[in-house]
Amino acid sequence: MATDPGYSPSELMVSAAARELRDGEVVFVGIGLPNLACNLARRLHAPNLVLIYESGAVGAVPERIPVSIGDPALVTNSIAVASMSEIFYNYLQGGKIDVGFLQGAQIDRFGNLNTTVIGDYAHPKVRLPGSGGACEIAIHAKRVLCIAAQSKKSFPAKIDFVTSPGHLTGGDHRQRLGMRGAGPQRVITDLALYDFGTGETAGEMRVTSLHPGVTLDKVRENLGWEPRVAAELATTSAPTREELRLLRDELDPGGLYL
């Protein structure tokens, strides 16, 4: 990352996340980068994307960038407002959500996420916010996308607490526990893209694409374990001019998240 590529790591992450979304899908989305990714996809290749927020807004079309998951702009002109009981029982557990976005203070090689504590639960070094809806999103969304800036600290060999299950110990561990959702399918960091492998190493993060200018060594330096690497390693496409224009001029003109 010697020369300025003309976009920020966040812009690249948002662009990469947006490309994971297919038109017509129903996405359970929080604020920040996932929200930007969904609204970017909606302006481009996925005009029929349905955005659902855990606060109850269904089919939200926010006129301004939402600063909270319960921003009033998510309600105005939305398709429906659901109670939180409906959101969790009928929409999420009912199997109506195609994609869930998750972030975490810690993520391990199986995509398990910690948003609860750093250190011991009873005597935490840092008390984090907790699950919110993350645990059930991780279980029920048909697939999960993770977005996180990469570092040895945030991608350790072992996380301090499993708030939200990824692939647990890998393989078909999720299915054996009866989970319908397929779990994490992609991790999008500021350095690389990952999938969760196939065959014997299924359920474990695997580098599939390096961002422009990023080396595999750089990825290794910012990971708490030796990563699996896809046979054919791609280079992540940079954000297009149109993507950058939408992000900067329309979706986050104040640069709140980018």
Partner: protein
């Protein structure tokens, strides 16, 4: 176990949801299917029931709290082999004689019954909507219903140890829901009595929405708290004004009580009932023709205006 890796066929990118009732029934109601036409006294899709009769669907399992005239007509027409229900009467007007003939004498053919209380049926739909295999509830204690329905069971509370009744989830193949208004994606709104329609729709594999009015999506978005269902769980949208008669649609037309009372005599006599089906169901091509045949009743039943005020969704 079904695994959800590909969410390909999302219902909300299908531009072809708006279709005639005949197409919706042909596509989404198969012989032998478990079918729900819900609506508690309000918003009962007689239009869908009549089309099912016309298409001579067979061996249906019909589920509904109150079979009402709507299922009695389907049973009399020979569409059903099983009824899942909680109260089988002609509301305010006596028994359902044709249903009784099926149960007491096996005419036109035997009808298996699976019987709950209203609460039991409500909990079954709610469990189905939530993808839970069962729900606990406090009822049936001291009643003979669990004795005649082995699907009513018990569970011990993991906290208090007390025993609670349970009912299993009901997940029908198709739910048919009449609404006051819908857009062409199936986003739909309802007011007045709500019944169990939301739960029935979320519980079903396919949802057919039948609407008094087809409106622009902007009408839905102008008042999102009125929305019953989002379009992405809806498979078909049918425009069928007066589609609930003799049931009612608040703000559109009144319940035709005269019809419910008159039905008593019709249903008492199998021949009269057959003649009625011949005239009003088999004898018309579709709902529009039925409505034209209603004649003066339309004026008698049209709702007077009592509009609510709007609320502010601004911020």
């Amino acid at each position: 176990m079904e695994l959800f890796l590909n969410s390909a066929e999302s219902a909300n990118v299908n531009p072809e949801k708006l279709m005639p009732m005949a197409d919706a029934i042909a596509r989404f109601v198969a012989d032998g299917a478990e079918v729900v036409i819900e609506g508690f006294t309000h918003l009962i899709s007689f239009a869908a029931a009549h089309e099912i009769i016309r298409q001579r669907k067979r061996d249906l399992t019909l589920c509904r709290l109150t079979p009402d005239l709507v299922y009695e007509q389907m049973i009399a027409a020979g569409c059903a082999s099983k009824l899942v229900f909680s109260w089988a009467g002609n509301p305010g007007a006596g028994p359902l004689y044709a249903l009784r003939r099926a149960v007491e004498q096996g005419l036109p053919h035997p009808l298996e019954l699976e019987e709950y209380s209203h609460f039991g049926m409500v909990a079954r739909f709610q469990a189905g909507a939530a993808h839970l295999p069962f729900l606990p509830l406090r009822t049936f204690t001291g009643s003979d219903l669990p004795r005649v329905n082995e699907r009513i069971r018990e569970i011990a509370c993991p906290y208090t140890g007390e025993r609670l009744a349970t009912v299993p989830a009901l997940n029908p193949d198709v739910a048919i829901i009449h609404v006051q208004r819908a857009d062409t994606s199936g986003n739909c709104q309802v007011w007045g009595l709500l019944g169990v329609q939301k739960e029935a729709a979320f519980a079903a594999s396919k949802v057919i929405i039948v609407a008094e009015e087809i409106v622009d999506e902007a009408v839905i978005r102008a008042d999102p708290n009125r929305t019953l269902l989002p379009g992405f769980i809806v498979s078909a949208v049918v425009h069928e004004p007066w589609g609930c008669h003799p049931s009612f649609a608040q703000g559109y037309y009144d319940r035709d009580n005269d019809f419910y009372v008159a039905w008593r005599e019709i249903s008492q006599d199998a021949a009269k009932l057959a003649a009625w089906l011949d005239e009003w169901v088999y004898g018309v091509a579709n709902r529009a023709e039925y409505v034209r045949k209603m004649g003066d009743a339309l004026t008698r039943l049209t709702a007077r205006q009592q509009m609510s005020s709007g609320v502010n969704y601004g911020y």
